[in-house]
């Protein structure tokens, strides 16, 4: 916890790294399972999406935020968000083209099974949007490339008095 390092958000820990390495595959699989299995049991896009996002956050916590960001480099999150939102909107518009109302699944003419798989696809789209947005929210919030005002030295300081004068932290 040195005060001189402003980007001190990561401390390597063998225990956490080992645990996360064991746990994350299961968390991720569980999240995808919840996403796919929303029709038969508790679950769905929102629930699965947040579990998948929390698996990525676990990785970031154990192995450092920057390495995880580098590992996920590329337009993965954008792609997830865009394809998820696109799937949802296109399924809605497709029903419109097939002569029904917006998102009227029976208009596709595949019977009850068609409705069910339409719902599953929409849930997957929601899951992609939710996990993509939450992961990118976390990464953009934790990106530390703007410190225009001084005071950077006190970042994350454990010692509140160090910031007290500048931050007015002692005011009640």
């Amino acid at each position: 916890m040195s005060q001189s390092d402003p980007n001190r958000t990561y401390v390597e820990s063998t225990i956490i790294m080992t645990t996360v390495r064991v746990v994350v595959p299961f968390v991720f699989t569980f999240g995808v399972f919840v996403m796919f299995h929303g029709a038969e049991s508790a679950g769905g896009g929102f629930q699965g999406g947040v579990i998948v996002a929390s698996a990525v956050l676990l990785l970031a916590f154990a192995f450092g935020i920057e390495p995880t960001r580098a590992w996920l480099e590329g337009p993965l999150a954008q792609l997830a968000i865009a394809s998820g939102g696109g799937t949802f909107a296109l399924i809605g518009l497709g029903a419109l083209l097939s002569g029904g109302a917006f998102l009227e699944y029976p208009a596709y003419g595949f019977g009850t099974d068609g409705v069910k798989y339409g719902i599953e696809l929409v849930e997957l789209g929601i899951g992609a949007v939710v996990s993509g947005v939450l992961v990118s929210l976390f990464f953009s919030l934790s990106q530390g490339d703007f410190q225009s005002v001084g005071n950077g030295g006190g970042n994350g300081s454990n010692n509140g008095n160090g910031d007290g004068d500048a931050a007015g932290g002692e005011r009640a």
Binding site: T9, G38, S41, G43, F46, F88, V135, L137, F138
Partner: protein, 180 residues
């Protein structure tokens, strides 16, 4: 009228105590930890209230993602410490809160008892309709999913839009070129 089950009452009391701790603890890190405990208690309460879908989301969001976002924020800003463990009570706020509590408490008596089978939501025609028609009409056994994606699909598209808009707003506020 059966009283609320003991386990539900215990877990809700725990959640309220954790919420009080989250507000009154002076160190923000302690407050965030208390908030995570509060979210966990509430997630258990959702299970006891027969809402496993909400419980799954609350456990991952409240005790997981929100907590991590708070932690990242205090790592990037300050964490006012001090020698006192708790905040001083702000009596002006207590007065404001007392007005709200007074107003809400007058309405409690007119609400149906918890779990009453004559409660308006439980007996409403819309609940009846969803429970009876969701499976025959959509082939989806989980009525929550059916309502979410089919009956209220347009509303859910709006929610997805709000989530995307929030992601864009964070980017805009933090003015970063790179997205992830």
């Amino acid at each position: 009228m059966t009283p609320v089950s003991t386990s539900l009452a215990v877990i809700l009391t725990f959640a309220v105590l954790a919420a009080i701790a989250a507000i009154l603890l002076r160190d923000v890190l302690n407050a965030i930890i208390a908030f995570a405990a509060f979210s966990f208690g509430i997630a258990v309460a959702w299970i006891l209230l027969a809402a496993p879908d909400v419980a799954l989301t609350e456990a991952a969001v409240g005790a997981g993602i929100t907590t991590v976002l708070f932690l990242v924020t205090i790592a990037k800003t300050v964490r006012p410490g001090g020698e006192r463990l708790f905040e001083r009570i702000a009596w002006r706020s207590v007065a404001i809160v007392a007005v709200l509590v007074g107003a809400l408490l007058t309405t409690i008596r007119s609400l149906p008892a918890v779990g009453s089978s004559e409660a308006p939501v439980a007996t409403s025609r819309i609940t009846e309709y969803y429970l009876q028609n969701a499976y025959p009409e959509t082939g989806v056994e989980n009525v929550v999913t059916a309502v979410l994606a089919a009956y209220r699909g347009f509303d859910t598209l709006g929610e997805a839009t709000v989530v995307i808009a929030a992601g864009l707003a964070v980017l805009l506020v933090l003015r970063q070129e790179a997205y992830v």
